[in-house]
C-alpha cells in the first residue's frame, strides 16, 4: 500500500484503528461522527473483529473498559454530549489504569449545541473531564493523514502508560478528504500481563479496580498516576513548529483551526512579514517547553481557537516571561479565516506590548 488514496478523515481514523490492531468497537450514533461506526461495522467484520452498537454512550465506554481489562485494543467514538456521558467510564479507566481509545468528533456546545466544527471540548479533554485527579492522553490531528497516524499513536501511548487516550477532532477533520498513505506494517499489540483472562492454577488471582479504601492507599495511587503524567510530559509531547528567524509574532493553534493559521502564515510571509507557527499535537501532555522557547524568540504570541479561549489558558501558563499575548477566538461554529488571522497578526506586530488581551 504505497499509493496515496483519497480518504475521508473519519475513515482514515477507522483504518488507523484497524492498522493498530484494534478489533473491538463499541459506540452509539451521534452526528457528526457516524461515519466511524458505519465504516467499522463493515471493516471490523472483514478482520474478524467485533462491532457492537451499544444502547448508550455510558454502556459503550464500559464495554470498552471490560474489553481493555481483558487485554484487547478497543475503542469507542462519539461527539460532545456522548463524550460527556463517557466521563464516568474514562475516570474509572484512568483510575484502574486501563488503556483504550475514545474519539471525540466534537459538536458545538454547551447542551445540544450544533454540529458545525468547534474546539469547545478542549477543557473537557485536557483536564481529565470526569471526577478525580487524572488526565487522559489527548492527541489533536490536523489532517486526514494524521487522523490515521495519530490513531495508531494513541493506541501505542495508551498501552505504554496503561491510560485511556482521546483523539480530539471536529467535523472539518472528520468530513474532509485528503490523500493518505496507509502504512504496511501491522501493529503488534504488546503483551499485557496485568489483563484479566482467568487466573491459571498456582498463580495469584488479579484485581482491576480504582477503589482503594485503606489508609494512605489512595494517596499513593494518586502519586503513582501523577508520575505517569510527568513521564508523558518528558517522553511523549508532540508538537509541530515552523519558526522564522527574527519572527515578530508567533501563532499558536491546534487541530483543524491550525490549517487556517497555516494559510495565514503563508500569506504573511508572502508579504514579507516574519511570523512563526507552533501547533500542539499532544494537547495532554501539553508542549509547554516548546512553546516557552518559541515565545521567547517571538516576544508576541497570537492564539487562534474555535472556542472562546480554552487552550489560551495553557498558552498563557507556558509563555516566556514578558511576552505579550492575544487571543483570536471564534466559538459556535465560526471559523477564523486566514485573512482575519493575518489581520490580527499584523495588528499585533504593529502594536506595542499589550499583555493578555483577547479579541472577540
Amino acid at each position: 500500500m504505497s499509493e496515496r488514496q483519497m480518504m475521508k478523515g473519519s475513515v482514515a481514523l477507522a483504518e488507523g484503528a484497524v492498522a493498530a490492531g484494534c478489533r473491538y468497537y463499541f459506540g452509539y450514533p451521534i452526528t457528526p461522527q457516524n461515519d466511524i461506526p458505519e465504516y467499522l461495522s463493515v471493516r471490523l467484520a472483514e478482520v474478524d473483529g467485533v462491532f457492537i452498537q451499544a444502547e448508550s454512550e455510558i454502556a459503550s465506554i464500559n464495554m470498552l473498559l471490560g474489553a481493555a481489562a481483558a487485554g484487547a485494543r478497543a475503542m469507542t467514538s462519539s461527539s460532545g454530549p456522548g463524550i460527556s456521558l463517557m466521563q464516568e467510564g474514562l475516570s474509572y479507566m484512568a483510575g484502574s489504569e486501563l488503556p483504550g481509545l475514545a474519539v471525540n468528533i466534537t459538536r458545538i456546545g454547551p447542551g445540544l449545541g450544533g454540529i458545525a466544527p468547534s474546539q469547545g471540548d478542549y477543557f473537557q479533554a485536557t483536564r481529565g473531564g470526569g471526577h478525580g485527579d487524572y488526565h487522559v492522553i489527548v492527541l489533536a490531528p490536523n489532517s486526514v493523514q494524521e487522523m490515521y497516524d495519530l490513531t495508531i499513536k494513541a493506541f501505542e501511548l495508551a498501552d505504554k502508560y496503561r491510560n485511556p487516550a482521546l483523539i480530539l477532532a471536529d467535523a472539518i477533520l472528520g468530513q474532509m478528504k485528503e490523500p493518505v498513505l496507509l502504512h504496511d506494517a501491522p501493529q503488534r499489540v504488546p503483551g499485557k500481563e496485568w489483563a484479566l483472562k482467568g487466573a491459571p492454577v498456582g498463580l495469584p488471582t488479579k484485581r482491576i479496580k480504582s477503589l482503594y479504601l485503606k489508609d494512605d492507599e489512595m494517596e499513593k495511587h494518586n502519586w503513582h498516576l501523577f508520575r505517569k503524567y510527568s513521564q508523558m510530559r518528558e517522553e511523549d509531547t508532540m508538537v509541530e513548529a515552523d519558526l522564522d528567524e527574527g519572527m515578530e509574532v508567533l501563532l499558536v493553534s491546534f487541530g483543524s483551526c491550525s490549517r487556517m493559521v497555516q494559510s495565514a502564515v503563508r500569506m504573511a510571509r508572502d508579504r514579507g512579514l516574519k511570523v512563526g507557527y507552533i501547533r500542539p499535537i499532544s494537547l495532554f501532555p501539553f508542549p509547554g517547553d516548546a512553546l516557552r522557547e518559541a515565545s521567547e524568540k517571538a516576544g508576541k504570541v497570537l492564539t487562534v481557537e474555535m472556542n472562546t479561549g480554552q487552550m489560551w489558558d495553557d498558552v498563557r501558563l507556558n509563555l516566556a516571561p514578558g511576552c505579550s499575548a492575544r487571543l483570536l477566538a471564534r466559538p459556535g461554529g465560526g471559523i477564523p479565516t486566514p485573512g482575519q488571522i493575518l489581520e490580527e497578526a499584523e495588528k499585533m506586530i504593529k502594536a506595542g506590548d499589550e499583555v493578555a488581551k483577547s479579541i472577540c
Binding site: Y24, F26, V50, I52, A54, E55, S56, I58, A59, S60, N62, M63, L64, L65, G66, A67, A68, A69, A70, G71, A72, A74, E88, G89, Y92, S96, L196, K197, G198, A199, P200, V201, T205, K206, R207, I208, K209, S210, L211
Partner: protein
C-alpha cells in the same frame, strides 16, 4: 468408622472471614458462587464483575479474577470481557440500586443482546452500603431512610419485579428468583446458580438469578425477624420460581 469430610469451604472462596452484617445473605450467595465455580472446575477461566454497593466486597472474598465496574455498568463491562474472551465464564454481581435503578438500561440491553453471561442479582429491598435508602425494589409502605413515611406509589412508583421483566426478553435463556432465608430455599438457590453457569458454559445466552435476601441492619430488624419478614411481606410480592428456561441456544 472413618471420619469423612462432608462440608468444606469452596476452594474458590478466599480464606477470609466475611465482614457482612449479621443476618446478611451476601455471604451465602458468595458461597454458592464458589461452589458452582468449583463444581464446574472453572476457577481458572472465571471473571467476576461486581457492581457498586455491598457487592464490592467480592473483590476480597472470591479467589478469582475480578474487575470493578462503575455503578450500574457491570453488564456493559461484562459484555466487553465476554466479547474479547468468549470461552471464559463471566458473571456480574449486583444489588437493587445497581441493577434496578442506575443500571436498568445496561442490564436490559445486555439481556436483550443475549450476551452469554450470568447476572447475579441480590435483592434486599434497600441500598445497603449507603445506609438503607429506598431502592427500586423497596416494598410499598416500607420505611427507609429516604421513605420515612413508607414507600408511596404516588411519589415513588411501584417495586420493580426484575426477573419477570427480563424473562419477557427473547435474549434471556434463564431467569429465576430464589430465596436464602431457609434451607430449602438455599438448596433451590444452589441449583439455580449451577443451572445458570451450566447454561453459560453451553453458550445458551443470558442467564439471570435473583436472590431474595435480608438486610437486617437497614431493615432495623434482628436476623430472626428479618427472616420472618421475608415470608410475611417479601415473598408475597416477589414470588419464587423459574420464570424462563430456554432449551436451545437461541430463540430461532
Amino acid at each position: 468408622m472413618k471420619l469423612q469430610k462432608v462440608f468444606a469451604r469452596p476452594a474458590s472462596l478466599a480464606e477470609i472471614s466475611f465482614h457482612f452484617c449479621p443476618g446478611c445473605h451476601h455471604g451465602i450467595v458468595h458461597r454458592l458462587l464458589g461452589e458452582a465455580i468449583d463444581t464446574y472446575g472453572i476457577r481458572e477461566k472465571t471473571i467476576g464483575v461486581p457492581g457498586v454497593g455491598c457487592c464490592v466486597f467480592l473483590y476480597d472474598y472470591l479467589d478469582i479474577d475480578v474487575c470493578e465496574a462503575p455503578h450500574g455498568r457491570a453488564p456493559a463491562v461484562a459484555t466487553g470481557f465476554k466479547r474479547v474472551l468468549p470461552r471464559n465464564v463471566v458473571f456480574t454481581y449486583q444489588g437493587d440500586g445497581d441493577l434496578g435503578a442506575i443500571g436498568m438500561s445496561e442490564v436490559v440491553h445486555t439481556a436483550n443482546r443475549g450476551e452469554n453471561i450470568t447476572v447475579i442479582f441480590v435483592n434486599n429491598g434497600v441500598y445497603g452500603m449507603t445506609g438503607g435508602q429506598m431502592a427500586p425494589t423497596t416494598l410499598l409502605g416500607q420505611q427507609t431512610t429516604t421513605s420515612a413515611f413508607g414507600r408511596d406509589f404516588h411519589r415513588d412508583g411501584y417495586p420493580i419485579r426484575m426477573t419477570e421483566m427480563l424473562a419477557t426478553l427473547e435474549g434471556v435463556a434463564f431467569a429465576a428468583r430464589v430465596t436464602l432465608h431457609n434451607a430449602a430455599g438455599v438448596k433451590k438457590a444452589r441449583k439455580a446458580v449451577m443451572k445458570a453457569f451450566e447454561m453459560q458454559l453451553n453458550n445458551m445466552g443470558f442467564t439471570f438469578v435473583e436472590f431474595i435476601s435480608a438486610c437486617p441492619t437497614n431493615w432495623r430488624l434482628s436476623p430472626e425477624e428479618a427472616t420472618a419478614r421475608i415470608d410475611d411481606e417479601v415473598l408475597p410480592y416477589y414470588p419464587l420460581g423459574i420464570y424462563k428456561e430456554r432449551k436451545s441456544p437461541d430463540y430461532l
